[in-house]
């Protein structure tokens, strides 16, 4: 099945991820400013200030893929951090307590400062508070209102946008003080424009996955989303996605799919099992293909370079991680319709409240509205001790039997 993977993604880890960590360590060695950052933080701000963004979450997924995460989680647990915490955070905290030479990609370069936001979860703030204390490095927080009405980027409350924008202004002045460099407004505009271009290409790629058969699988998507998440404002991202778009478009035109006879087209919610991306090949072997991940559909935003601050607010505030479950339901409903989906996989991540509570509502409402069933599975993104493969496979097989009967 793996030969059905996209050419453009061959050697992705070696060519891009490994290189990204080499760049990060080089930036640190050259004394350029290095900041730790979390997802849903407006990364464009750092890129506009030439601050090298380091992504502990990405590092945790790298450790999981290299089967190194559990040993690191255990180190954090030994220091008193509960085993029920987010495995991303335990893995990275664990990496801070040990020898750097043991770590994948030489570990994370130490931060000069850290930035995070409440836009996804409490864990981001709490985890970074711990790191900030440990490294004696300042922590800047973008405090985000919760999107309780489940508004999309066009219907956000004015007060929420204003609160966000005013904090961006404060953030830039903190970053200026921290780095001793003034924000160049033109550079911000360019950065935002580049990010917008990356977003458009990424969404175009996703749209080709509506085709039957679907030309791109979840495994490739979860790798390729790296640029969207971590360095969207880079020519490298635009170039890579252009090549990827061309390949996916070509496949769609020639009706080349991940699998030939698609029995079940699926949506995959939340995170994958980074330590076991082969699960997607297993699904393929049962005639199933993941045609859309909610994760691939939350990082894009229409950014208007003439209104960078407001655009960033409208891009990040509606992220479903920061919203009433209505927001996720809306997204799943529209994906299910647009991508001709038969079933929805809702993985509940052991260390993540935000990704676990409310999934029963998603399942209920989506079934009521579209008759599309969902499967909730207990998993963990990086700690395989919270994952029972035999049980999960069993549940998949039962779920597909149900789908079969329906069809």
């Amino acid at each position: 099945m793996s030969e059905r993977g996209l050419q453009t993604l061959r050697g992705f880890y070696r060519n891009y991820i490994k290189k990204y960590y080499e760049d990060a360590h080089r930036a640190k060695a050259e004394k350029r400013p290095v900041a730790w950052v979390t997802s849903t933080f407006p990364i464009e701000t750092l890129q506009a200030m030439d601050i090298f963004p380091v992504w502990p979450e990405n590092f945790a997924s790298v450790c999981a893929a290299r089967q190194a995460s559990v040993a690191l989680c255990e180190r954090a647990e030994k220091e008193g951090f509960s085993r029920d915490l987010c495995s991303y955070s335990r893995c990275v905290l664990g990496s801070m307590f040990g020898e750097e030479k043991d770590l994948p990609e030489g570990g994370l370069p130490k931060p000069d400062f850290l930035v995070t936001t409440t836009c996804a979860c409490d864990t981001h703030l709490k985890w970074f508070q711990v790191a900030s204390r440990m490294y004696k490095a300042p922590l800047f927080l973008l405090d985000v209102p919760y999107n309780i009405s489940g508004a999309d980027s066009n219907s956000l409350e004015k007060a929420h946008i204003e609160f966000y924008v005013s904090q961006l202004e404060e953030l830039f002045s903190s970053l200026e003080k921290q780095t001793g460099t003034r924000l160049d407004k033109n550079k911000l505009r360019d950065t935002v424009a580049l990010s917008n271009q990356t977003s458009e290409l990424w969404m175009e790629i996703q749209d080709y996955r509506r085709n039957i058969p679907c030309p791109m699988d979840a495994r490739d998507a979860f790798s390729a989303v790296f640029f969207m998440l971590c360095i969207p404002s880079a020519q490298l991202a635009v170039d890579f996605y252009t090549t990827l778009r061309n390949e996916v478009r070509e496949r769609a035109k020639n009706k080349v799919g991940v699998i030939e006879n698609e029995k079940f087209r699926l949506i995959w919610d939340n995170l994958p099992l980074w330590f076991n991306l082969k699960i997607f090949e297993y699904l393929n072997s049962l005639g199933a293909v993941v045609v859309a991940e909610t994760f691939s559909h939350v990082w894009a935003g229409n950014l208007d370079p003439s209104k960078p601050f407001e655009s960033l607010a409208r891009k990040y505030l509606p992220n479903f991680a920061n919203a009433s479950v209505k927001r996720k339901i809306d997204m799943v409903l529209s994906l299910a319709k647009d991508f001709s989906v038969h079933g929805i996989i809702l993985p509940a991540n052991w260390g993540c409240r935000m990704m676990s509570i409310g999934e029963t509502i998603v399942r209920e409402v989506v079934y009521k509205k579209l008759g599309v069933p969902s499967l909730i599975i207990d998993v963990d993104s990086s700690d395989w001790r919270n994952y029972n493969e035999a049980q999960v496979k069993d549940r998949f097989e039962t779920f597909f039997e149900t789908l079969n009967r329906k069809q």
């Binding site: 951090f81 405090d143 404060e170 009433s324 409240r353």
Partner: protein
């Protein structure tokens, strides 16, 4: 002592006071987070009550809430599904933790309770956060006025502030009874008192506290002084664990619960415009662990440890309470730096695994007591 007995009874039948209030034809609104500006509710002649759980298991809730969600939240939700809170005329939730944001959805979707409202609560207390939260409190007041069909006047708010501040000052006096050697009330009694405050009309509670303070000095049955302990954690809505500690030679003389000292430690400024003063009090109070200023809480705990002359501390972390799970090792280090022995325990709200906790608590108190 009559007052102490009243507080104890209040906790054995937690809905009685609210039902009594309802029988006068007045509404009751439930809340779960101590960042809810209760004064605004009280000013409308509505009884605000903290929604709490019980030890009876969470069978109903488990059908909808996963086993890796906050066990306190699951217990509260279970009580709501069972109909225990059907008397509520409204329910207020906030985003003060990841569980809570989603609990709003759960209550709105699965329970019969009408008028579910959400207060957006910042995690910082900068000038801008204060401005944002003030507007949230204004909107909350307007929502209450619309829902109840009557205005809330400034003089109502001022009166509520006064009554609430009195309650806070009295609670502090009651807490200070534990500065004495031996402490004049037990830790379990102190928790009964602070918890009952979250579900009793404050004017009535103030009378009972005054009565208690008059009764105490004449008391001849003082509890025996054990190892003086500080306890810390998120929420503690029953006295089981404290009773275990005090049965094996501990005296709980100070706490850092959101249902204990953090509930009442700070006052509302009575000189300011009432709504502004209320909003300000909540964002500036001794912070909960979800706040950016979490180190202020560590300072509060350290001050309490000194003020109440404690010999050791127990940090209780409620299962799946992320913000406290991250803070616990840091707080442990702060307390150890004071030279205090610290025990760190994770507990399930349902008290499953209580036997193991009891053994560890007993060994810890024995160890500290032996050194003494």
């Amino acid at each position: 002592m009559r007052a102490l007995q009243w507080f104890r009874d209040c906790l054995t039948s937690i809905h009685d006071v609210a039902r009594g209030w309802k029988s006068q034809g007045k509404p009751v609104i439930g809340w779960t987070c101590t960042y809810t500006p209760e004064e605004v509710i009280y000013a409308a002649d509505v009884l605000p009550v903290m929604v709490v759980g019980d030890l009876g298991g969470t069978k109903l809730a488990d059908a909808y809430m996963p086993s890796n969600s906050c066990s306190f939240a699951r217990s509260c939700f279970n009580a709501a599904l069972r109909g225990d809170y059907d008397y509520l005329d409204g329910f207020v939730e906030s985003n003060s933790c990841d569980n809570r944001g989603k609990i709003f959805d759960m209550w709105a979707h699965y329970t019969r309770i009408p008028n579910i409202y959400f207060i957006n609560t910042p995690h910082t207390n900068t000038a801008k956060a204060h401005e944002f939260f003030y507007e949230e409190v204004v909107k909350f007041k307007e929502w209450l006025e619309n829902t109840l069909g009557k205005p809330i006047f400034d003089h109502d708010l001022k009166k509520a502030i006064e009554v609430y501040n009195t309650n806070r000052l009295l609670l502090k006096k009651v807490y200070d009874l534990r500065m004495k050697h031996p402490p004049l009330i037990s830790g379990a009694e102190a928790l009964e008192i602070s918890l009952s405050s979250t579900m009793t009309p404050k004017e009535e509670h103030n009378e009972l506290l005054t009565q208690l303070l008059n009764e105490i000095p004449s008391s001849s049955s003082l509890p025996k002084e054990g190892v003086r302990l500080l306890v810390s954690g998120s929420v503690m809505d029953n006295t089981e664990l404290i009773k275990i500690i005090e049965a094996v030679g501990g005296s709980v003389v100070a706490d850092d619960w959101c249902t204990g000292s953090r509930y009442f430690w700070n006052l509302v400024d009575e000189g300011d415009e009432p709504l502004r003063a209320i909003a300000r009090r909540y964002l500036d109070k001794v912070p909960s662990s979800f706040m950016y200023s979490h180190e202020e809480r560590f300072k509060h705990v350290v001050e309490m440890a000194k003020r109440y002359d404690v010999e050791a501390a127990i940090i209780f972390v409620l299962k799946f309470c992320d913000t406290h799970m991250f803070d616990a090792p840091l707080l442990r280090d702060e307390l150890k730096a004071l030279g205090l022995p610290v025990l760190y325990l994770e507990w399930e709200h349902s008290m499953s695994g209580i036997a193991g906790l009891k053994t560890r608590i007993e060994a810890f108190i024995e160890m500290v007591g032996g050194v003494k």
